[in-house]
Symmetry: C2
Subunit: 164 residues, 2 copies
């Protein structure tokens, strides 16, 4: 028996976004230059991993706060999409197109300098506060160290975004 | 007489950061792959401009929230550095090395979808709330449209960041 640390999401909600919605710089699988955040369930919580590259520095050795904010942002919208998708009876990988959320507000508290050489883990707790508005509380860990906390209010993407 | 719109900061605080502190993915002049945000005075307010590239999308045509959060983040720390530098008797371009701040907390409220083809302007109002802690209130405009508001608590970079 090993204590292997899992740092990969198998079924991510972003894998199932329609192609039109898969270009996000944070979590779009079709955006070649983006972060490629992928968010899935871990029991009743949600999880996203992030391996910062050397370019994502604040100063060398520590992760840029804007990159952590981006991580929290997409973890938030992805978590809300997971939760509404589950409420609708679906899981990522089931073949159904999930709902797509945008960020209403984003809050990040930076508690400790975040090291660059470690896989970061965002853990989310989702709460429905309105049928179209979901609150996601986020903790960002580097190993066992809580480096940042955050909160995202995610809103079902309005039709004005797509004009469809 | 023309109504030319100025969208460039001549003397940015980031131009004067020491080389060791010029690698930030948001505002580091030495980070080749970063956003290269540059923050300067505009009267008693501070200003940063951002021309999003096509990769910085949420969905095509609209700017990614994490990129706007990054914009607000570096505008906040840059504005705080400008203000403390001025308090110390210096202006960017004077040849003195400015103080360097880190982000304590970051808050962004997304009011409207932010178009990608427009130069964005962040306007900041800085307030000293402690000799080492400054609050920056931020408004992000696309043309005349207020697309986002934010608040950054910026903290003078602790020595634990550099071990110097």
């Amino acid at each position: 028996m090993t204590n292997q640390v899992i740092t990969k999401v198998v079924h991510a909600i972003q894998d199932d976004y329609a192609d039109d919605f898969a270009w996000c710089y944070g979590c779009g699988r079709l955006n070649e230059e983006g972060y490629h955040f992928r968010t899935g369930w871990d029991g009743e919580k949600t999880v996203t991993y992030f391996n910062p590259s050397s370019k994502h520095a604040a100063i060398p050795g520590f992760v840029y706060g804007g990159a952590i904010a981006s991580f929290v942002d997409c973890h938030g919208t992805g978590s809300a999409a997971l939760a509404l998708h589950r409420k609708n009876g679906f899981e990522p990988g089931s073949g159904e197109e999930p709902p797509r959320f945008v960020t209403g507000s984003l809050n990040v508290n930076f508690l400790k300098p975040t090291p660059q050489e470690t896989t970061l883990k965002a853990v989310g707790q989702v709460e429905e506060i309105h049928p179209k508005k979901w609150k996601v509380s986020v903790e960002v860990f580097a190993g066992d160290t809580l480096c940042a906390t955050g909160e995202v209010i995610a809103v079902v993407m309005p039709k004005t975004f797509t004009n469809k």
